[in-house]
């Protein structure tokens, strides 16, 4: 079919443009717009009513006029050229190289919206990923094919943590093809260059593809950036059989852009002005993580979002939490105490942990130990709150032990260096060592056999030391 060109723009508003007297326009198809000054822009069809098409312009409508601007309907949806050579390259939010290198020679052109994975064809994520961070590996273990977001807030070191994960993530079983796809949406130049610098310095860049949409790039472009990144990730994972970790930052900017378009279309808003379909829209991105039967590659997603006003019930973190398989929440209070990474252990959760840990994966005692650490830390924190009101004297001996445990736990277990890469064995041992501070009778979440096998030797050693000193 021949491309059709029109000069019949009837109205312009925000990122939207109405084109009249069209024919044979397809829903969702790609639109090329040529401005009078020769500038080219792109957009997509949002709605068609008989011979009128509503077009969303990716780069914004400023400078477009209703007389000289030409609109061409391309006849296909927005596609992304992909090839294995993407690795090590830097692209803008529309998928065009910006690192000064040669243009990409496409091996395939893929629809950036992808297609939903058939749940029947999925393979359940069950391979433990070691990130070297105790609060993740020990308490909220991540597995290949999982989507585990970081809920952060302004001023917290989520970028450093994301970079640490990208640097250290490995699978215990062996060395396999590993790649990182990084999509930045509306972040500042400073943040973007932090990542690029870190990847370059640590040699991670060769296995990384970066898509950068900066804060001063058009907001509408942000709608496609994560989809472009995920399309590249799908290609690397399922065509090139690589294990891909996709880092998306910052989803809050993405949702703002979505709200902008929704408002321009005069849609009935849902909570806080975000469109009612925000859940579905986010799901079409998050659900692109996973593993497929018969394919060795996988896509693991780590979306990062900043919670407005540290509020977890804000629609963006809320809807994200309903789709993703858990969440890592950062705490301002830990950060103030100078603890890095400031992971708020209590509300953090990895839903797929149970399949990724245990015998033959990490260690048989992992699950029980994890549950016990959670319970003990919760009780310790409660006791500490009580002590603040009533004074230390009001606590029972047990509560005192738990309170002391929670302090040491924060200092030794949660706190670790930015370049400290703990193996899972080290993390588990650390956990058992901390449990020696608590009366054994209180360890109700652990099977007797494991107490016998892992805790008793440590207790004996401790008793010996005390006897000697």
């Amino acid at each position: 079919m021949l491309p059709r060109e029109y000069r019949t723009i009837s109205s312009l508003s925000g990122p939207l443009m109405m084109v009249e007297k069209t024919s044979d326009v397809r829903y969702d198809e790609l639109v090329e717009i040529s401005l009078a000054n020769g500038e080219k822009r792109r957009g997509r069809v949002l709605e068609i009513e008989s011979d009128r098409a509503l077009v969303q312009v990716f780069e914004g409508t400023s400078g477009i006029d209703s007389e000289d601007t030409k609109v061409r309907f391309v006849g296909k949806v927005l596609t992304l050229p992909v090839a294995k050579d993407m690795l090590g390259r830097v692209f803008n939010g529309r998928g065009e190289p910006i690192d000064g290198g040669a243009p990409l020679i496409a091996e395939q052109n893929l629809d950036i919206n992808g297609m939903p994975m058939n749940p029947f064809s999925r393979d359940y994520p069950s391979e433990f990923i070691q990130t070297g961070i105790s609060t993740i590996d020990g308490l909220n273990p991540m597995v290949r094919g999982q989507k585990l977001p970081i809920f952060s807030a302004s001023g917290l070191p989520h970028n450093r943590m994301a970079a640490q994960i990208a640097r250290q993530a490995t699978v215990i079983s062996g060395h396999e093809d590993f790649a990182v796809v990084f999509a930045a949406m509306g972040i500042t130049f400073e943040e973007a260059s932090f990542f690029m610098e870190d990847f370059r310095r640590t040699g991670a860049l060769q296995r990384t593809v970066l898509y950068i949409n900066l804060a001063d790039d058009p907001a509408i472009e942000r709608i496609s950036t994560p989809r472009i990144a995920l399309t590249a990730a799908e290609y690397l994972a399922f065509e090139c059989n690589m294990h891909v970790v996709v880092i998306l930052t910052d989803l809050t900017n993405y949702c703002e852009a979505l709200r902008e378009i929704s408002a321009a279309r005069k849609e009935v808003p849902g909570r806080r002005g975000y469109p009612g379909y925000l859940y579905t829209d986010l799901a079409t991105m998050y659900e692109r993580a996973g593993r497929l039967k018969g394919k060795s590659g996988s896509i693991t997603q780590i979306p990062i979002l900043t919670m407005p006003e540290d509020d977890k019930t804000h629609p963006i973190p809320d809807l994200t939490g309903y789709i993703t398989e858990g969440q890592i929440i950062l705490s301002r209070s830990l950060h103030r105490q100078g603890i890095y990474p400031p992971v708020d252990v209590m509300p953090s959760l990895s839903r797929l942990k149970d399949k990724g840990i245990g015998k033959d994966k990490t260690r048989e005692d992992h699950a029980d130990l994890m549950n016990q650490l959670f319970a003990a830390y919760a009780r310790g924190k409660e006791a500490k709150e009580l002590a603040v009101i009533l004074g230390e004297g009001a606590l029972s001996d047990e509560d005192k032990a738990f309170a002391k445990f929670s302090t040491v736990f924060e200092d030794k277990y949660i706190r670790q260096g930015e370049y400290e890469n703990r193996t899972i064995q080290e993390t588990l041992e650390l956990g058992w060592n901390l449990l020696t501070m608590i009366p054994t009778k209180e360890l109700k979440r652990i099977r007797d056999a494991y107490i016998e096998k892992y805790l008793k030797p440590l207790l004996d050693k401790k008793a010996d030391n005390e006897a000697n000193s």
Binding site: L46, E47, I48, M115, P116, N118, R122
Partner: protein, 597 residues
Amino acid sequence: MPDKKEVKGVIERISGSLVVAGGMEGASMQDVVHIGELGLVGEILEVNGDKASIQVYEETSGLMPGEPVVSMGEPLSVELGPGIIEQFYDGIQRPLELIEKAANSHFISRGISVPALDRSKKWKFEPKVKAGDEVIAGDILGTVQETVVVEHRIMVPNGIKGKVVKIESGEHTIEDVIAVIEDNGKKYNVCMLQRWPVRKPRPVKTRLAPNVPMTTGQRVVDAFFPVALGGTACVPGPFGSGKTVIQHQFAKWAQAQIVVYVGCGERGNEMTDVLLEFPELEDPQSGQPLMKRTTLIANTSNMPVAAREASVYTAITLAEYYRDMGYSVALMADSTSRWAEALREMSGRLEEMPGEEGYPAYLGTRLASFYERAGRCIVNGKDGREGSITVIGAVSPPGGDLSEPVTQNTLRVTKVFWGLDANLAYQRHFPAINWLSSYSLYTERLDAYWNEKFDDQWSGLRVEAMGLLEQEDQLNEVVRLVGIDALSRDERMVMETAKSLREDFLHQNAFHEIDTYASMDKQFKMLRTIVNFHHLGLDALHKGAPMAKLFNLPVREQIARMRYLEESQIDQIDKLDDVIKEQINAIIPVGGDNNAA
């Protein structure tokens, strides 16, 4: 069968999953249509003159005005017949396995048409009636062994009665005629394959009161907030509070003969989990894999939103079909909030006047009519079979705020409320069902049932345990203000027992091979032991036993580990009573009667 009338129109407007077609005169509401050259499936939502608004169950990208729209003159229906159990369907009953084959891809492409039931497979049909018998709608013509545990009963379709003139036996496909029924000279051919429109409830003879329990093996549920066969329950909770794990636990251990699990707008991996796990897990009642009694329906959050709306109706219609055979069916819907959001999205595109939070004004009616399809009843047919559907719906309130419209409308129609509590989840107290805010309106009815089984001890134990937890909550307020030392010795005992109830009884580990399921016998024995310790402990305190010693008796560790006893060893719990008595007696000071010091 009514006469099918085909109506052809053309696309005029496309907006997301909504398509408006012109030239659709004669099309009726809720008819299924095929859209465009790809033949995407949709359903008519609104008729206005010759224009029909259609919700499309597949991605609409690439459609254009002028493409054809064909209405088949038939409402959205499901296929009923042997082969439903063990299947994994999408929201409009297409087997996902066949979609994978037809698309030859791990991804779902569009316009795929695959039959819901296998047309070529032969089933062994055993007739239960003979030629000359008079039958009415709902009577069982014969049976087919669908899986090891499910006997599929082929019934006389609705609206047909008369004399059986011919009945086949032996191997047949679902489209073969297996019986001919004659009524006033008119002959009806009956095959195993039948159809039913999803939005129309299947009729029953009489509805019964829900006074038989459906046990779930989950202690907090069965003991404190039980659900009855044919009851309705909802599980609202913020994300991360364990909604899905609870739904999975119900699907695994609920004492129902058939389980229909619908994943509505939820995660793909969760459905995969069920799909991989259920064939491995053993049903405690039959000893066979759980999958042999389960059918799954998945419309994950990234699949087309309109089909999400249809998926719960597909599920309940399948459930009704098995209920009509005389089975107890449990239907788990995770999550009804996503279904409501799909309604909201379509309503928005239809430009309807929004109600609360943008949800359509008819949200409450739709939810009510869905839950009302649950129930225990005498089904159609002469033999007076009893069947039931128990519906357990998960609700995902935004921000955990229960005042939002979906939760509120659900609470109005469901009888059991298991309120999930984020704080309990943070403390890793699972299932995170809050024992103070949850309720069950079936408790009293079901007490009668359990009292009969457990020598009239059940309701007393339950009420006492609940009372202790309630007291603990009040005492906690005091402790927070003035410290634990301000409590009397009796009150300390209450705190200790309540803690034991929470940690040793209510807390249950879904991933522990033994703890994951507790029979009612085990639950009763555990609860009795904990309450017994409370009584003896109080008595000992009155007689002057030292508190610290009492709370640290070695038997308490045994109480804490009751839950890890296998079902075959639960008699050991009975023996604990003697151990408790012995150890407590040992710490009562000699002659220390009524000495509270």
